[in-house]
């Protein structure tokens, strides 16, 4: 696969480490009454869509950016690549 890094342009997927679901950006509030239940949901419950999927990749053999990649799990078509930090700052992960 080729990932179009927002800062570095097209890079081979072998430079990256894959983590998984981008919802990991939406970390629950530790002070919530049901914090344990919320963290459980956050950590273990995942959608497994056949189609578009937003996921985290880390450019470990590169600039060490964490990226959010929208990839079609059926075709591997990548429709968007964003810096995870930009997304996290906007406060929307999904």
């Amino acid at each position: 696969m080729i990932i179009h890094h927002p800062l570095l342009g097209p890079r081979d997927a072998s430079e990256f480490v894959h983590l998984g679901d981008a919802t990991l950006l939406s970390r629950p509030d530790w002070q919530a009454d049901d914090a344990i239940a919320q963290f459980h949901e956050y950590l273990y419950q995942r959608e497994n869509p056949a189609g578009e999927y937003r996921e985290l990749w880390y450019h470990e053999q590169g600039d060490r950016s964490w990226l959010i990649i929208t990839r079609n799990t059926l075709t591997h078509e990548i429709s968007s690549v964003e810096l995870a930090r930009d997304v996290a700052r906007k406060g929307s992960a999904s």
Partner: protein, 981 residues
């Protein structure tokens, strides 16, 4: 006997004869031959035995689809089994032997298997070797293993070199036949960066094997002239002997280039290169493969694909037989007959399954329309064929023309499914194929020459336009469309004799019938039950035939019966080529610390930890056992001073106004209020509440920390910290950089460590008042060399860690040893380090093993619930904090002469070794020279409440069972007075 079947003509170099050996016989051929063509020229067609029934087999095809002619090539370590003779380029000195027989090839002792064939049908293994179960390992498996496989590996190390490489292009053209060459011409003129790859050593594809004209000149001449023109273009890279193996995501293709396989010696050059090709667009011009017809006893040597017989005649100047007959269901059989006659090959008969007027006549050739071949004779070479009209024809070569299957393989590599086309009775690529791939020529179902060239020309123009190239308006090269009409005919129904579908895996129509009878109708089931198409040729000549036979048996049309798709690689690849240079010591990079040279001079024994080499111990003259060295190193350190290289620990530099807040989030224990000039031990949890790393972090300034991680987790910790920084704390002002390689670091431990350090530091007061336990600072040593000093202790001694920029690492270890002479300073390795940390009760990966919590490790109190940190919330799950969880303890044998063993499980005295009775397990053990007996660390249920209890350490695997005493994990200096001293 000299090349009795050699004709005139052919694309071989008669000025370059090659001498080669097959099964001990010395033979002659020419440069430009394949091993197969040279064998046929010498009248040899029996070249191997079949996989299952050990039937005599001959050369079947003239290309990479070959199912039969697999040989052992070369000798000793260079020996390569299962090499297809049909694509093995002949060279002077080539050495080959046949395979899969016991005794000589023409008297195979295993041939008796053929007599047992009624019992060896599809599913034989599944049905036979099921019971009795006890026979599996001792009887069945050895027998199956002994008779399985074709060729034999040498068992020696591969002496060849393999490389990997990367190529980029606008357009990758796969196949250099008429369509590929026509495409390359257009792309070359348009100025695109072009790669054209073909598996053959002679480019031109079928133009070299058939008689055609293109643009008014002979087609083979057109091919060589076109290639010569392409070579003039700087933007075209021509890769002969290069098989494109697979189509991967986003226009990436893998290809194997055989660099020196056609030479006797590699002469130090890479034998093969595995290319990764990045393309903007790809054009698949892979042509088509002929298929056979299933008729009784159709596997005899001398029964070949008709196109191959023509190829041997025209391209190689070899007659595949003295009396050739043709069996066809389509017009290409007649075209082949014409080409053979033109080459001066004698044809005896043409048998056509179609009841139509003969498309042509040939003088002296018997022509039978609406007729089938119903049997053959000749065990080691074809002698005669029997026809459905009762005629028996004497023939030594039967050319079978069953129709053509487009080579759709690469279109399937991303689950594209080919579609059936009735007019050509073949599968062609559908729209579902890899993004960016276009298919032209015969591969796309344009089986006639004029149409193939025209479609390649037009498609290439359109493809180039789509990626921004201007193409000139040009006409495609002119060629006529030869007659091609087919009436599908797949198999001759016959109850008595076997009719082969898949020659390589010995699958017959009877097996397909059995599969159908037993309910395995789906193609994927058919394949797996009968092994149809699952040999090394991936069923290139058999898949469509097998599917068609199944369709007939089911009474369904082929498209409703299904289709098979293909996976990479297109043809088999040597493991060596996939490994490339990454083998033996080059498998992974080796990391050496700055003291490596010095340690080697001390005869250090090294151990791999990750990619690092670390000194494990330093044997002294006269020490014969590692324990002697390790015990000495421990005792010397505890008595005076020892020095250990700890450079390999991960180091991360953390800076920014939010650095302290960030660490407070990363570590489970508080970090906000660490004073400048102090070090704090930190514990990291995963978000699920399990510990994953620990280390010390020093605050060098208000906004500057230096973290150490364990050697093994350095990369992982850094990755997770970047995740936290970018994804969870995006607003924080904090930056991270890995400085593991920037600093050389030594632990200096023992009562005399302070005195030794005092000799090399510049004006630094080392007294307890100024530089107490857990102090840190940036200092200079040896007259101005920058250094960092940390007063931390892994050994439990009065100890320091001293870091200098990497380039001073070698000098520093030498300076420390020289200055330490008066204290008998002793270097110690990772073994002594481990012994001392067990004595002290410090945990490492054995204890922080990915399943244990802070509470398990005796550090539950460190996990602050007054702040948010990774893992803090879920560490409080009931299942992790109940009263029954295991706790870290120290263990000592009751009988001090017993040695403890890691991995032993703990049980109450007298209780049975069952899972229910399991109390925990031993994680780390060592012989303690300090205490004079074996000691251990481990986890015991509620162990913190049980110090002093005696339990069993039961080790069922090694047959040990001894009583041990639970003690505090902190066996050495539990109050820490020594390290604070």
């Amino acid at each position: 006997m000299t090349q009795i079947n050699r004709l005139s003509g052919g694309k071989i170099n008669r000025d370059k004869p090659c001498t080669f050996t097959f099964n001990g016989k010395i033979l002659q051929g020419y440069q430009g031959d394949t091993l197969a063509s040279a064998l046929l020229a010498n009248g040899i067609n029996l070249v191997g035995r079949s996989f299952k029934y050990h039937r005599p087999r001959g050369i079947f095809s003239a290309g990479s689809e070959e199912p039969n002619a697999l040989v052992q090539l070369r000798q000793a370590a260079s020996n390569e089994p299962n090499t297809r003779a049909t694509v093995t380029e002949l060279y002077d000195g080539l050495y080959a032997t046949s395979q899969n027989h016991r005794g000589p090839l023409n008297f195979d002792l295993m041939a008796a298997t053929d007599l047992l064939s009624p019992f060896l049908g599809a599913g034989f293994y599944y049905k036979t070797f099921m019971w009795p179960r006890a026979f599996w390992e001792k009887l069945y498996e050895p027998i199956i293993r002994a008779s399985a496989g074709l060729g034999k590996l040498s068992g020696e190390e591969d002496p060849d070199i393999y490389d990997k490489g990367f190529l980029h292009c606008d357009l990758l053209i796969i196949g250099a036949g008429p369509a590929g060459l026509a495409a390359a011409r257009v792309a070359a003129h348009a100025g695109a960066q072009v790669i054209i790859a073909d598996e053959d050593f002679l480019l031109g594809g079928r133009l070299n094997s058939e008689r055609h004209e293109i643009d008014g000149i002979p087609a083979d001449q057109w091919a060589s002239e076109t290639l010569a023109q392409l070579q003039e273009f700087g933007n075209v890279r021509i890769l002969p002997r290069t098989t494109v193996l697979g189509a991967f995501d986003h226009g990436i293709y893998s290809a194997l280039e055989r660099k020196t396989d056609h030479q006797l010696h590699s002469n130090g050059k890479p034998r093969q290169v595995l290319w990764r090709i990045y393309s903007k667009r790809a054009i698949l011009a892979s042509g088509a493969t002929e298929r056979s017809i299933a008729f009784p006893n159709n596997d005899r040597p001398g029964i070949m694909l008709a196109g191959a017989v023509r190829s041997y005649a025209k391209r190689y100047g070899v007659a595949a037989g003295k009396q050739i007959s043709i069996f066809t269901n389509n017009h290409s059989g007649w075209q082949i007959a014409q080409d053979l006659v033109d080459q001066g090959v004698k044809i005896t008969a043409i048998v056509d399954t179609r009841d139509i007027p003969p498309p042509a006549t040939f003088s002296g050739v018997a022509i039978m329309m609406g007729t089938q071949v119903v049997n053959t004779t000749g065990r080691k070479a074809l002698r005669s064929i029997t026809l459905s009209n009762g005629h028996v024809i004497q023939t030594d070569c039967l050319a079978v023309a069953g129709g053509w299957s487009p080579n759709v393989h690469l279109t399937c590599h991303q689950r594209g499914r080919p579609e059936w086309r009735n007019d050509i009775a073949a599968f062609v690529p559908s729209k579902s194929r890899p993004v960016g791939m276009s298919v032209v020529g015969a591969a796309n179902g344009d089986l006639t020459l004029g149409a193939a060239i025209k479609s390649a020309h037009q498609t290439t123009n359109a493809v180039l336009k789509s990626i921004g190239f201007q193409t000139k308006r040009t006409q495609p090269p002119r060629a006529i469309d030869e007659a091609f009409a087919i009436t599908p005919f797949w198999h001759v129904a016959n109850q008595k004799h076997r009719a082969w579908v898949d020659l390589q895996n010995d699958v017959t129509t009877k097996d397909i019938k059995l599969s159908q009878t037993e309910g395995f109708h789906a193609v994927e089931h058919l394949k797996r039950y009968t092994t149809l198409g699952m040999a090394t040729d991936q069923g290139k000549t058999s898949n469509v035939l097998g599917l068609a036979v199944m369709a007939e048996m089911l009474g369904k049309p082929i498209p409703e019966t299904g289709t098979t798709i293909f996976r990479p690689p297109y043809t088999p690849v040597a493991m060596g080529a996939l490994g490339g240079r990454a083998r033996d010591k080059n498998y992974a990079p080796i990391r050496k610390t700055p003291s490596h040279q010095w340690a080697s001079e001390q005869n250090a024994v090294f151990v791999e930890t990750g990619n690092w080499l670390r000194a494990q111990w330093y044997p002294k003259l006269g020490e014969t056992h590692w324990r002697e060295s390790v015990d000495r190193e421990v005792l010397a350190t505890r008595k005076s001073v020892g020095i250990c290289d700890v450079t390999t620990l991960g180091k991360i530099d953390i800076q920014g106004t939010d650095a302290a807040a960030f660490l407070n989030f990363i570590y489970a224990n508080p970090f906000l209020k660490v004073p400048v000039g102090k070090v704090r031990y930190g514990l990291m949890l995963r978000e699920d509440g399990i510990c994953y790393d620990d280390g010390t972090t020093a605050r060098l300034g208000e906004n500057h920390f230096v973290m150490t991680t364990t050697t093994a987790n350095a990369v992982l910790v850094y990755r997770r910290m970047e995740f936290a920084r970018q994804c969870l704390c995006p607003e924080m002002d904090v930056h991270l950089i890995s400085t593991t390689d920037a600093w050389a670091q030594y632990a200096i431990a023992g009562p005399n460590s302070r005195a030794l350090l005092a000799k090399i530091v510049d004006n630094q007061d080392l007294s307890n008042e100024v530089f107490p336990f857990m102090a840190c600072g940036e200092i200079t040593i040896c007259n101005g060399i920058p250094a960092r000093l940390f007063r931390i202790s892994f050994s439990g001694e009065l100890a320091y860690e001293l870091a200098v920029p990497t380039r001073y690492g070698d000098s520093l270890i030498r300076a420390l040893m020289a200055e330490g002479q008066e204290f008998d300073a002793t270097p110690y390795g990772t073994e002594a380090l481990s012994v001392m940390r067990i004595e002290k009760g410090h945990v490492v990966g054995n204890e922080i093993n990915g399943t244990t919590t802070a509470l398990n490790l005796g550090m539950g109190g460190m996990v602050s619930q007054k702040k948010d940190s990774i893992g803090a919330t879920l560490s409080q799950r009931e299942v992790l904090i109940n009263d029954n969880v295991v706790r870290l303890v120290g263990l000592q044998p009751v009988d001090k002469s017993h040695a403890l063993q890691a991995g032993a499980h703990f049980l109450e005295l007298g209780s049975k070794p069952t899972t229910q009775n399991d109390l925990g397990w031993m994680t780390s053990v060592a012989h303690s020279p300090t205490f004079g007996h074996s000691i251990g660390l481990g986890f015991v249920k509620n162990g913190h409440m049980r110090h002093g209890d005696i339990i069993r350490a039961w080790d069922g695997i090694r047959g040990r069972d001894i009583p041990v005493k639970i003690v505090s994990p902190h066996m050495y200096d539990p109050e820490g007075a020594i390290q604070r001293g």
